[in-house]
């Protein structure tokens, strides 16, 4: 019954979105109905489809929570023994469920645009909502025709096949929603761009409208990717945080496009420049989100996340992808001249610096795309299987993105339109000297320095110091110019968007510092340990106590106990890694144990029991890693996301109608 209710919600939403968007476009072109009326109608539809999809989503969720194994999707991705938080997470653990989540997010964003766009010009609002509703139609059609999450099976299954044990992790409960909020959020920026192209008019107001939406989407995507990376670190048992797996790359590409987009939107907003570039980036960011969905959900990749193997679906997503991307690029090609390039600027100016970073990010994006898609195309054409290793991505990424950090250090002190290069560099003299000293100190005291680790540390320190200096300098300047003496007032005068930039850039510095330090100073040791044996790693001592039998609700486990002490310290930390075997699927999973700290994690996971030892003195294969500063990677990402979220609260973007045309 509940499943049928959900099915009904999906079908109604599809019919409603189809009718309103087609009817809306038709009436709009004939000019019969006033814009106000149309806008009201579209707003109503957007809210209604959101309500209906909410209903469908909740219906699927309750099927999972109530373990209704007559629904195929539930039978295949849940189990009677599964703890309830994972039953909820299983709602989006499968192909069908995750597409429903996609559509759910899309209707959610559409409803948000409908509600929060009181200050949009009415004609523009009509176009934006129509584009978003058309996207809903396309995705609902795909969902209903090839991936219906509510399909029944007869006879019903007894206990369900179980959720993939890898996905049974607290982080995996929130990773997909965050990631999809980001992916789908770029649909809003895309709809704004398409609407502007249709209207043939692009002004700073358009950029101001788009900015908060793009920032929000990018922040969600940042958190989503960060959670995925953290999950890989804790759950895959390899201690790495990024594998350059095609599925990870699929999320990195829209992220890079999004990062470029939010900066070029800033230029268009402030200076009315780089207009067609900004529009192009809006389209590319969403196109890459769709490509990401295609790569992960079509089954073209045999990798961690690609659980779908139905070629029909792949072809449908590909068709959807080509129609959306193809038509928007055609529109772009036809209309971009009308839109124009926008404001002029000198070769040495803040616009140029931002453009340089944009180009660097887009280049990085295409190198990732080459490494991700080439093996797929090559296999289709030559029939040979191949893969591109992580060393490729590492070799191209550092040289492309480290210069970007230097530009980021300088850009905030640079001037719009035109500036003196030497004058600008004066502002970053002190941070530069301090950053160099920091990098030298790290190389001298830390040892093991390589040219890349030096450059990485220097760039991160430079960005951090230059950003802090800039904030302090701005505050001091306000005071000198007769601003309020109270620090709080001066902080407020600078505006939330300014502080958002400061926070996000500090995040980038922390991230790069973390990546560089963990890459340079990590220690990895795989060995066989007997009970009682002690192993030194960095200044930690790890003692293997033994392995006993443990169990959870839906698994049995070999449960290891390790004692951890630092230096000559007397505090003992217990680490308890497990090797689990899940009852329903029989799948074996390594659960690492990690001691977290800001300065470095100790990471222990169990391998196999040693072949030739007695049962009482059973030795085990053990993996002990020391990961210095790895936490900075995730903290850095959180800072970046926090920056994006802060901009949403800036009053600048909440001006009422009237103020804009």
């Amino acid at each position: 019954m509940i499943a049928e209710l959900g099915q009904l919600g999906l079908s109604l939403a599809f019919a409603l979105a189809l009718f309103t968007s087609v009817f809306g476009f038709w009436q709009f072109s004939r000019g019969r109905v006033s814009h106000e009326q149309l806008a009201r109608g579209l707003t109503g539809t957007a809210l209604l489809t959101f309500g209906l999809i909410c209903l469908a989503f909740l219906a699927l969720m309750s099927c999972f929570v109530l373990s209704d194994f007559s629904v195929r999707n539930v039978a295949e991705n849940s189990n009677i023994l599964l703890p309830w938080p994972y039953k909820i997470a299983a709602t989006w653990g499968s192909h069908e469920g995750s597409l429903l989540l996609w559509v759910f997010m899309l209707t959610g964003w559409t409803a948000a645009v409908a509600l929060l766009s009181g200050n949009l010009a009415t004609g523009f609002k009509v176009r934006v909502l129509s584009v978003l509703l058309l996207l809903q139609v396309a995705f609902l059609l795909f969902l209903l025709s090839s991936s219906n999450p509510f399909e029944r099976i007869l006879p019903a299954a007894l206990a369900g096949r179980d959720l993939n044990p890898l996905l049974q992790d607290p982080v995996m409960v929130i990773h997909p929603p965050m990631l999809y909020m980001g992916y789908v959020g770029f649909a809003v920026a895309f709809a704004f761009a398409v609407a502007a192209l249709l209207e043939g008019r692009l002004d700073p107001v358009w950029a101001r409208w788009t900015r908060p939406w793009a920032n929000a989407a990018w922040s969600f995507l940042t958190v989503g990717i960060m959670l995925g990376s953290w999950w890989a670190y804790t759950e895959l048992g390899w201690g790495g945080w990024w594998f350059w797996d095609p599925v990870e790359n699929a999320s990195l590409m829209p992220w890079l496009a999004g990062a470029a987009l939010i900066h070029s939107l800033a230029v268009t907003d402030k200076r009315d420049a780089l207009k067609s570039w900004t529009v192009l980036l809006s389209i590319i960011a969403f196109a890459l989100s769709l490509l990401g969905t295609f790569l992960v959900r079509s089954g073209v990749l045999t990798s961690v996340h690609a659980f779908a193997t139905d070629p029909k679906r792949g072809i449908m997503i590909l068709a959807l992808l080509s129609i959306v991307i193809g038509s928007s690029f055609v529109l772009y090609a036809v209309k971009t001249r009308q839109v124009g390039l926008g404001g002029k600027f000198a070769p040495v100016s803040r616009e140029t610096l931002l453009l340089i970073n944009n180009v660097l990010m887009v280049t990085a994006l295409f190198t990732v795309m080459l490494g991700t898609l080439y093996p797929l195309f090559a296999e289709v054409i030559t029939g040979r299987k191949m893969s591109v290793g992580p060393p490729y991505f590492e070799a191209v990424f550092a040289p492309l993105l480290l210069p970007a950090l230097w530009v980021m250090s300088v850009a905030p002190v640079s001037q719009w339109k035109q500036m003196s290069f030497m004058e600008t560099l004066k502002h970053v003299r002190v941070p530069f000297v301090l950053a160099m000293l920091t990098a030298i100190a790290i190389a001298v005291f830390g040892g093991k320095a390589s040219p890349w680790s030096f450059v990485g540390c220097a760039a991160a320190a430079m960005l951090f110091l230059a950003t802090i200096r800039h904030a302090l300098h701005q505050l001091a300047k306000l005071k000198a110019n007769g601003g309020s003496r109270a620090l709080f007032d001066r902080v407020r005068v600078l505006g939330l968007t300014y502080w958002a930039m400061i926070v996000a850039h500090i995040g980038v510095a922390l991230f790069v510092a973390g990546v560089t330090l963990v890459k340079t100073y990590q220690l990895e040791r795989d060995l066989v340990m007997k009970p009682g044996q002690t192993e030194k790693i960095s200044d930690w001592s790890v003692t293997f106590i033994g392995v006993d039998n443990g169990s959870g609700v839906n698994y049995k486990a070999a449960h290891g106990v390790f004692e951890l002490t630092r230096g000559k310290g007397t505090t003992i930390y217990l680490l308890e890694p497990e090797k689990r075997q899940y009852v329903a699927s029989g799948q074996v999973m390594t659960e690492a144990a990690i001691y977290y700290s800001l300065l470095g994690d100790v990471y222990i996971s169990l391998g196999e029991p040693d072949a030739n030892s007695s049962e009482t003195e059973q030795a085990w294969g053990v993996r002990i890693y020391y990961k210095p500063f790895i936490a900075w990677i995730w903290i850095g990402c959180l800072f970046m996301a926090a920056g994006g979220v802060m901009t949403l609260f800036d009053k600048r973007y909440r001006r009422k109608k009237g103020a804009v045309a």
Binding site: T302, L370, S387, A395
Partner: protein, 135 residues
């Protein structure tokens, strides 16, 4: 510094084109260095694989072929595609889904008729089989 306006005008585009050429060259270079090809035991047995660069070997771990050396992390096993088998050696902790009778992908090089792997790839799906075996 520069004599004529003409030279000045030409310099910027030339610098941009030069930078692009260097970047593209570096990318393509890194790319071709790190392209790893995939081989089956039969292809290896016929000597089709190069000896001087890392390759991937895919197949099934033969039943009863796995030997773990006591007190070390050395493992040896045979990979088969039902026509030929190749002996693989590896030192380290093997992934959870690495089992006899299951699919495996190993990365490494041939040395004296043995495949010395430096990585055993985790395939996080119990039902995964290298495409070669599906046919």
């Amino acid at each position: 510094m520069f004599k004529s306006k003409f030279v000045k005008r030409l310099l910027l585009p030339l610098a941009i084109v030069g930078a692009m050429a260097v970047t593209v060259y570096a990318i393509i270079n890194a790319f071709s260095d790190n392209l790893t090809f995939f081989y089956t035991p039969t292809q290896l047995a016929q000597g089709e694989a190069p000896n001087d660069r890392s390759i991937r070997l895919g197949g099934m771990v033969e039943q009863g072929s796995m030997q773990r050396e006591a007190g070390t992390l050395n493992v040896s096993f045979r990979v088969t595609d039902m026509k030929n088998t190749i002996t693989v050696t590896y030192t380290g902790i093997t992934p959870d889904l690495f089992k006899e009778g299951k699919g495996v992908v190993a990365e490494g090089m041939m040395k004296n008729g043995t495949f010395v792997a430096h990585e055993i790839l985790a395939k996080h799906d119990e039902n995964y089989m290298p495409p070669v075996l599906k046919k």
